[in-house]
């Protein structure tokens, strides 16, 4: 049993199933990310944990207590909203002090605690400002400070960085993780940004269409995806369609346009003759091979585009057009021939299914 247990939670809005029998267990002190595309049900799940929505069925247990039908005010699960929900008519001090006042904390104690949390989020000296007098990053910190000051048992973060610009987002996600870890709070972090989830979280639950597709550490999710959705949603991926030709233990030999690809069996129930999806990430494809590697093909360069530290090269091969990520600049001419190869350990082979995000 974890610190937070979500047991068989289902929630429908009319005919739309927002959450479909979701079960998760989150340990004390863990930062747990819920990751998924828009509309996958992740915010609904967070709101149910906070008590702002009621589930149609299932249970929410926090620290051993069933809080499924408990009022939001009675739970010690404090939320940081996506738009931060700072009260525009209150100063930074008043916003942060609100929860303490509600709890009947004495004036002196409130001043002491607000100072402590302002120092923690590096906003000293801004207590008399109104939210509109702060930058986006500062507003985000106030929202976080308001949640942290009441020392919650559980911190719920609903895409807290999505309203910040890309640079600030990168800065803040590191800060956020170290701050939560420093305080030892259990946190559930909802995001649609896979990179953010990977950096901030100890474990990640990937959701799609109201269902949990996989739970694991960031590296498990990235290197051992359980299904085609997770494999293609996390990171970039080349997806090649083929047929399972031979299966030996955990290795699958797949036929694509009369060529064989060898890779890992990633779907449990795969049998010979099945229609399959072969997933290879661009960064695992090598250009220029020695000859003893798995999956070697000759291709022609179609295009190359430098994206920061990487160059994205498109190669036309007998198994289809593949995207390859090369570190640094890639200077081969368009249409020139090139060998490509990829290790079987980096090839995930799933039973084919339509995937939509």
């Amino acid at each position: 049993m974890g610190f937070v247990d979500i047991l068989n939670v289902t929630k429908k809005f009319g005919n739309v199933v927002a959450l479909d029998n979701v079960t998760l267990s989150i340990d004390r002190g863990e930062i747990f990310a819920v990751l998924g595309p828009s509309g996958c049900g992740k915010t609904t799940l967070l709101r149910i944990i906070a008590g702002l929505e009621l589930p149609d069925s299932g249970k929410i247990i926090i620290n051993g207590v069933d809080v499924t039908y408990e009022k939001p005010q009675k739970r010690r699960a404090v939320m940081v909203f996506q738009n931060w929900a700072l009260w525009p008519h209150m100063t930074v001090f008043e916003n942060i002090a609100y929860g303490l006042k509600i709890r009947g904390v004495s004036r002196n104690e409130i001043v002491k605690k607000v100072r402590w949390v302002l120092e923690l989020v590096k906003l000293e000296g801004l207590e008399d400002r109104y939210p509109h007098q702060l930058s986006g990053g500062q507003q985000q910190r106030v929202a976080l400070a308001r949640a942290l000051v009441v020392e919650p048992e559980l911190l719920l973060l609903d895409e807290p960085l999505s309203n910040l610009d890309a640079r600030l987002r990168i800065e803040m996600r590191d800060e956020l993780r170290s701050l939560i870890k420093k305080l030892g709070i259990t946190a559930i972090y909802v995001t649609h940004d896979q990179e953010e989830a990977m950096v901030v979280a100890d474990r990640i639950a990937v959701m799609n269409r109201g269902r949990v597709m996989q739970v694991g550490t960031p590296s498990e999710i990235f290197f051992k995806p359980k299904d085609l959705f997770v494999a293609t949603f996390i990171g970039r991926a080349n997806v090649i369609r083929g047929v399972a030709e031979k299966i030996e233990n955990e290795i699958v030999y797949a036929k694509v346009n009369d060529k064989l690809i060898v890779g890992l069996k990633s779907s449990e129930d795969l049998s010979i003759g099945d229609s399959i999806a072969i997933v290879v990430r661009p960064q695992f494809i090598k250009l220029g091979c020695r000859g003893d590697e798995d999956n070697i093909f000759i291709g022609r360069v179609l295009s190359s585009k430098a994206i920061g530290l990487l160059t994205e090269v498109k190669i036309d091969t007998p198994i289809g057009i593949l995207t390859v990520a090369v570190t640094g600049l890639y200077q081969k001419d368009i249409s020139s021939a090139v060998d490509i190869c990829f290790d079987k350990e980096n090839v995930y082979i799933f039973r084919y299914e339509e995937v939509s995000f």
């Binding site: 906070a50 008590g51 702002l52 929900a85 009260w87 008519h89 609100y98 507003q139």
Partner: protein, 542 residues
């Protein structure tokens, strides 16, 4: 069915010792019910056409003097009950009207023009109601995302085609809302039929039945007319609401880019100054006239006579007028307190608590928009003069009309206030309240600390407007106000006294002065409420 009377009267007469031609537009009668339909339909058609024309010019184009025209266009919004209509009549009377005076006596053309009977009522309705269509349509146009127009321009469409294919289509809910409101206001209007002495209309028939409150208002004929007018108005209201809900286009673009007005061509500017400006000036005649009436010693002849402040002194000197003002303020303030409290409860519950009860409450509070004032007044009269209310403080005949008037004001203005407060709640992101709940506040505490302060200005703006419109509420005042008679210490509100004093020797000018004050109060309330509502920006939320 044989119509009675003539639509247009053209004859040669001797007037002031000279042979002249008089052209008087009147209208024919088919009986009260059909007459009311015809008058309301014609008023609506003309009003809608004019309102759309102005709304298509002002928000969409830039031209010199635009702000003056924009301000002129909303002048008819500020109406003085009876006084405005009286000025229209004064202007278009073929004998003593200013228009005929200018044509015949000043310029010397042997022609006098007049509007009487149904035509007079329609003219007066059009001048006062086009603004409703204009405001509804321009609000609809202003809510069109400019990127939709830019996209069409980008695809090579001409502005004329955009007007036809996009702007008119997206404005249809505004057009429908404006037209339906005009129809309802026109069919229930009681002031203009009284001024033009046209008693062959449903509203007048109901009013007349109250002249003898002990028997007339309980007559089957009056009750039938009341039910009929409710059914007509509700039918139009529900029909238009259904239509509007079908036609409401969801905004699927992200963000909102406001309209960027186009520069009007020289030809366009010429057309605006040849047609729109003269019409707007023409439509402002009643308001300008009310102020002239208020400061003149007499206005019987075509031109007003003398200048005096005595008409305003009557507010204190004339005990009847003084009491009426006091009554109106007491009724309006009491109604306002109830309206503010109720509207916060209803708007909050329908905005936040989704369910059949909140929907029912919201519908119940909104329906009075479609119920004419005369029907509400008649309904309360019938209810409060019958057991168990008969003889209680609700009884407008045996006790005082004050309670019934206050309740009627409350019911009449509640829908508008609910809408204003609802708009205020919508401005406050639900997360602001949820954040308070999440931090441990009770729902009441969350509402009072996180929501109420942010919508306080909406409530203030709404109450300000509601107060002024309670003061100038006409149909309830004239029907219920005089049921206990008018003597020292009477219970009638201002509007009843305005109707009572109209066309008396000195009373007309006092009506003008009361009208002028009501117009000023309406302007102050509207300008203040729109300034505070616009000037307050809720930051960091939606």
């Amino acid at each position: 069915m044989n119509p009675i009377g003539s639509l247009l009267e053209v004859k040669n007469v001797v007037f002031g010792g000279r042979n002249i031609t008089i052209v008087v537009l009147k209208g024919v009668s088919f009986g009260s019910i059909i007459n009311s339909f015809v008058v309301a339909t014609i008023s609506t058609l003309i009003t809608t056409a004019i309102g759309i024309a102005i709304a298509l010019i002002l928000p969409l184009y830039d031209f010199p003097g635009k702000s003056i025209l924009r301000n002129l266009a909303i002048v008819p919004l500020f109406a003085a009950p009876f006084a405005s209509g009286y000025v229209v009549k004064k202007f278009f009377d073929w004998r003593y009207g200013l228009l005929s005076y200018v044509i015949n006596d000043v310029i010397g053309i042997p022609l006098r023009i007049g509007f009487e009977s149904f035509a007079g009522v329609i003219l007066s309705e059009v001048l006062s109601l086009y603004v409703i269509v204009y405001l509804n349509v321009s609000a609809a146009i202003n809510s069109i995302d400019y990127t939709l127009i830019e996209q069409a321009l980008n695809l090579g469409s001409s502005f004329r085609k955009i007007l036809r294919d996009i702007i008119i289509h997206l404005s249809m809910p505004g057009i429908a809302a404006g037209a339906s409101l005009t129809f309802i206001l026109s069919i229930e209007d009681i002031a203009n039929p009284i001024i033009f002495k046209e008693d062959r209309l449903i509203a007048y028939e109901i009013f007349r039945s109250f002249q003898d409150p002990t028997t007339g208002s309980r007559s089957p004929g009056a009750i039938f007319m009341t039910i009929l007018i409710i059914l007509i108005s509700l039918g139009v209201f529900i029909g238009i609401r259904r239509y509007v809900s079908y036609k409401r286009y969801a905004a699927i673009t992200r963000g909102f880019k406001p309209l960027k007005p186009l520069k009007l061509s020289r030809k366009g500017i010429a057309l605006v100054y040849l047609f729109i400006l003269p019409f707007l000036l023409f439509a402002s005649i009643p308001q300008i006239g009310v102020f002239i009436l208020a400061f003149s010693t007499r206005w019987y002849e075509p031109l007003p006579e003398g200048f005096t402040l005595k008409n305003f002194a009557a507010f204190v000197d004339d005990k009847i007028v003084f009491t009426a003002i006091r009554n109106s303020i007491v009724y309006s303030l009491t109604a306002l307190a109830i309206i503010a409290f109720m509207s916060i409860l209803i708007a909050y519950s329908s905005a936040r608590i989704k369910g059949s009860l909140s929907y029912f409450l919201d519908t119940l509070a909104t329906i009075p928009i479609a119920v004419p004032g005369i029907a509400i007044a008649s309904g309360f009269f019938l209810l409060f003069t019958s057991p168990p209310f008969r003889g209680t403080l609700f009884d407008p005949v045996l006790f005082s009309p004050g309670t019934a008037i206050t309740i009627a004001y409350t019911v009449r203005r509640l829908p508008f206030m609910v809408r204003a407060v609802y708009a205020g709640i919508q401005q406050v992101a639900v997360e602001l309240e949820e954040a308070a709940l999440n931090l441990g506040a009770s729902r009441f505490k969350a509402f009072t600390s996180a929501v109420l302060p942010l919508m306080a200005l909406h409530i203030l703006g709404g109450t300000l407007v509601a107060f002024v419109y309670c003061l100038s509420e006409t149909s309830v005042g004239v029907i219920l106000g005089g049921l206990k008679g008018v003597s020292v210490g009477h219970a009638a509100p201002i509007t009843f006294i305005m109707q009572d004093y109209l066309e008396t020797l000195y009373g007309t000018q006092i009506v003008g002065a009361l009208g002028a004050i009501l117009i000023i109060l309406q302007v102050i309330a509207t300008v203040t409420s729109s300034a505070i509502l616009r000037g307050y920006v809720v930051i960091g939320v939606r």
